[in-house]
């Protein structure tokens, strides 16, 4: 088992950060400016949600209150779409994770000429622009009579995230030492039993990262359910927010902002969990690096 070897400075050696002293203040100012520019468009969301008379402009509410939140807290406006989002995202996460774990196991554990071409073919799949596939997918769903079907949409969304999930899962699985499994085989466990009882529990943090990664993508996905789910009762929050606020002439901007915030909160929370727990660069390196 080869642990990843990194060239590290021996402990105790002086850590020099070049230009730390002279560049600091200018860099601070520049970064503060950049951060402010990135926050500016979000300011409208926060202020607008608290302003019953909100329009396009950003302003401090004259009569701040939670009226907007109260107005959208109805079953058909908020709870049903959020429930649909949850079903769609959790379903996508579960299907993706199951297929990715099964696929990653042989790819991680056996040496074969099949592995590398397969992994690169899968990676190639991630490269195809999903938005370009939506028109043909719509046509395909019409012919197979799968349109407006929640399970079919879940399977399609799972497929679009599957390539990335297989790569990440395989990388996480590679870091579980083979020796632990071998001990289980000696005791008579089958390969699948060893996968379930030894490998998966050891990589549960990695599996959590993959699940959350897929969940966040599915939760935020607008275009796929927009094209594939037609009836209002099945539409997730991403689509209902668009059809409610985008197509009604007089737009209640305050309510739109309030809805956006409630709809974004779960994703923000999940992102914080991942980046606190495992480090976002860790998750990213699992995704980006081979």
């Amino acid at each position: 088992m080869t642990a990843p070897v990194r060239t590290r400075r021996p402990a105790g050696a002086p850590v020099l950060r070049p230009e730390r002293k002279q560049g600091s203040t200018a860099a601070d100012a520049a970064l503060t400016l950049v951060g402010a520019c990135f926050l500016l468009p979000l300011l409208w969301l926060v202020l607008g949600s608290l302003d019953p008379e909100a329009g396009h402009e950003t302003r401090v509410p004259r009569t701040p209150g939670l009226d907007n939140f109260a107005a959208i807290m109805t079953p058909e406006l908020l709870f049903q779409p959020l429930w649909n989002s949850l079903v769609l995202s959790a379903g996508t996460g579960a299907v993706t994770l199951a297929a990715a774990v099964l696929a990653a196991y042989p790819l991680s554990r056996y040496r074969s000429r099949f592995n590398t071409p397969f992994l690169y073919a899968v990676l190639f799949g991630t490269c195809l622009p999903v938005t370009a596939i939506m028109v043909p997918v719509y046509g395909l769903f019409v012919q197979l009579e799968l349109l407006d079907s929640m399970p079919a949409t879940i399977f399609f969304m799972a497929t679009t995230t599957l390539p990335m999930a297989i790569w990440m899962t395989r990388n996480f699985m590679d870091s579980v030492p083979l020796s632990l499994e071998e001990a289980a085989w000696v005791d008579g466990a089958s390969r699948m039993a060893a996968l379930r009882t030894i490998v998966l529990p050891l990589m549960r943090q990695g599996l959590g990262v993959v699940f959350i990664f897929v969940f966040i993508q599915a939760w935020g996905n607008f275009f796929v359910p927009f094209v594939l789910l037609l009836s209002e009762a099945r539409q997730p929050a991403a689509v209902s927010i668009y059809s409610f606020f985008g197509q009604h002439g007089a737009v209640a901007y305050g309510q739109l902002a309030a809805f956006s915030i409630l709809y974004s909160l779960p994703v923000l929370a999940l992102y914080v969990i991942v980046s606190k727990g495992a480090g976002s660069s860790f998750a990213l390196s699992g995704a980006v690096r081979g």
Partner: protein, 293 residues
Amino acid sequence: MQLDHRARQLVRYLPVLPAVLLLLVFLAGPVVWAFQASLTNAGLTGRSARNPEWVGLENYQRLLADPAFPLSLGLTVLFVGGSAVIGQNLLGLAIALLMRRARPAVSSLAGTAVVAAWVLPEIVAAFAAYAYFSKDGTLNQLLGSLGLGRPEWLYAFPMVAVMLANTWRGTAFSMLVYRAALNDVPAEISEAAQMDGARGWQRLLFITLPMIRGSIATNLMLITLQTLAVFTLVWVMTAGGPANASATLPVLAYTEAFKFGDIGYGTAVASVLILIGAVFGAVYIRLLKEPRP
């Protein structure tokens, strides 16, 4: 013996089957279907929806004759070049470099602000960007207070607005990639160059950038592919308008297929986009296969 080995190999790889089936049915299937449907006159409703007729390359001939298509191709190149290759890439690199010099508290706060735009659901980011660039939105409030006028960004300069919005939305990815890459550059090399009298920008140009060129190439390919596929941001902000002035290829394919009900023509546009994605994807995989320096 040989057969036995192959049979065992097959059984071992059985768990890959569900993933392969999903990818064949829902990814490879639509791609094949797209190329086939782009050769028919398939419609959204009516007779041509049930029994599409074979029309050969007619849709592609229409593409070349239709002024909307070359325009859309050009807008897509502009969108990817301006907001991904220049905007996200350079800004992400600049932020990552600045973060190494700034105080940790400042750099983590700025990092959070940049990442926030990236983590939000795309429809929320799109609404926020729409409000920001609208006539009495935040940007015009700022410009107006400086006495610089209040242009109608979404009508007068739709491409500028969507490119800025996409830069805002996607820079976090490049920033994270470059932060990870810069952390792997050994400080000793930079220090040695400093002793030899190299200035800051010289060290960046001749030492740091060449050392992270693998990450730069990877990042450029990934953000190009991501930006090629951007639909929601453009759709919510301008819906491709006014008069196709911001209709990138995904928006054009959607409009042709669903607004005008011409699935055959829409899939022809989509097929072109799939081909472009495939070329970039192939280049990206070639890059990954090369041994890293």
